[in-house]
């Protein structure tokens, strides 16, 4: 009923969604230690050690320098690019005392207030953010119409 599919085509479609990092196996591999580091903050004693010296705590994990720097900067969009998963990264922002709404808003280029207002008004519309390819095609059509 779901039909046969080519796995490369299946995975390729995920890269066509604007502003979205689907947590694929490739990202799971890239971010394994990053996510396991974040997971360690589930334990109260680890949170205490982490808060006392973040850089030293990170050095206990076989993460890349880019990943460590992105964690210290709380750059969540970059962390997604480096293989982080939001449910694991949630341990980091929860330890910072941020709610999901506060932390998620930092990835959107909006202030918390602007983001909250958008959610209270019904959220972000899917119009225009479904497909990068479709958006490019629409832009192309618009440009052609303009030339005429």
């Amino acid at each position: 009923m779901s039909g046969p599919r080519d796995i490369h085509e299946y995975l390729g479609e995920f890269e066509d969604i604007p502003g979205t990092r689907v947590y694929t196996a490739a990202r799971a591999r890239q971010g394994y230690h990053l996510n396991q580091f974040a997971m360690s903050l589930m334990k109260a004693e680890n949170r205490t050690r982490w808060l006392a010296n973040e850089a030293a705590y990170l050095d206990e994990w076989p993460m890349t320098q880019d990943q460590k720097a992105a964690v210290l900067a709380r750059d969540y969009n970059l962390l997604l690019d480096l293989g982080g998963n939001i449910y694991f990264l949630a341990k980091v922002f929860s330890t910072d005392g941020l709610s999901f709404l506060q932390a998620v808003s930092t990835m959107t280029g909006m202030s918390v207030e602007e983001y909250s207002a958008m959610m209270n008004a019904g959220g972000r519309s899917p119009e225009g953010v479904r497909s990068i390819t479709a958006n490019r095609a629409a832009e192309g059509d618009a440009a052609i119409r303009k030339q005429r």
């Binding site: 779901s2 995920f14 990092r21 959220g123 519309s125 479904r130």
Partner: protein, 302 residues
């Protein structure tokens, strides 16, 4: 024999647990959400409705499972489960009591039906499981129902297809029907509806699509089982994929359902809240397609 008497779908946003635990659930922000569950709380307490066991389909959010082990479908066969510490201390809600006898029966039956389940004897349960209990039962001293946790991977791609989830639901129905004690069993599918918690597109909500999905849970239609992953991602945000778990519930209710109650509200934090209560009109599910599922000796051994 066991009887699946109803199915419930509900979002499981962690903020709902926080609101309930802090007594804020009737504040202006939360009241429109919780009021949508008032009907269900009254209904589920009725003697003729009250389930003995709930099969609670949910996903773990980096609590019991981390990246070390990623089971696609896992069933809890333990005696009891404690609320997980998700990074800010465990919720102060009662422990969740399991039903190991029915859970093991279902696990065995599913494996003979060629659903290769992971079996869990010990784990903590996070908001994915405890928030729906709070929404349906409020804040009792002990949960008035036994719970069989059924955890689905919807975090690391690929998650199971909607079609596979529906078929698992049908196999769960066969398993419950072949249980030798009379039990009133409900099945709950949790998570959703549209939401995206990551990236510049975060905050996506698609009320129109969510309404289509709620409509598709009712009646004899099976169109929801053919929705591919990419459609959930494009239309409902990266975390909307949780809705495949609703299809396990729907599959278990059989050929035809009727809606008893329906509720939808935007927003709760980053998420569209959806809730529907269904009962089977015709609970017929297809017979087991497998060798061992049709082997009397094998079936007698479980």
């Amino acid at each position: 024999m066991g009887r699946i008497t109803a199915g419930i779908a509900s979002s499981h946003v962690p903020l709902l647990g926080v609101a309930a635990d802090m007594g804020k659930h009737r504040d202006a922000y939360f009241a429109p959400i919780f009021e949508g569950y008032d009907w269900t709380r009254e209904w589920i307490a009725r003697p003729e409705v009250k389930p003995d066991v709930v099969i609670l389909v949910y996903n773990d959010h980096a609590s019991a499972f981390d990246m070390k082990i990623i089971p696609t479908f896992a069933i809890g066969c333990g005696e009891r489960y404690k609320p997980a510490d998700e990074g800010w201390g465990p919720r102060k809600v009662p422990d969740v009591e399991g039903h190991p006898d029915l859970a093991w029966h279902i696990a065995q039956s599913l494996i003979l039906d060629e659903f290769d389940m992971t079996i869990i004897n010990e784990m903590d349960v996070d908001h994915g499981l405890t928030v729906p209990l709070t929404m349906m039962y409020g804040a009792p001293d002990a949960w008035p129902v036994k719970v069989i946790p059924l955890a689905v991977n919807v975090v690391t791609y690929p998650p199971p297809s909607g079609n596979r989830c529906w078929a698992l639901g049908e196999a769960i129905a066969r398993a419950v029907q072949s249980y030798d004690q009379d039990l009133n069993v409900q099945i709950w599918g949790t998570g959703g509806m549209s939401h995206q918690l990551q990236g510049p597109r975060a905050g996506l909500i698609n009320a129109e699509w969510d309404a289509m999905f709620l409509d598709g849970m009712v009646g004899t239609t099976q169109k929801l089982r053919a929705i591919p992953h990419i459609e959930y991602l494009r239309e409902t945000g990266s975390e909307g994929i949780e809705m495949v778990m609703w299809l396990i519930m729907r599959g278990a209710l059989g050929r035809e359902t009727r809606a008893l109650h329906r509720h939808y509200h935007v927003p709760c934090s980053n998420t569209a809240i959806g809730h529907i209560v269904l009962e089977p009109v015709d609970g017929t599910v297809p017979p087991s397609p497998t060798l061992e599922g049709n082997n009397a000796a094998a079936q007698a051994a479980i």
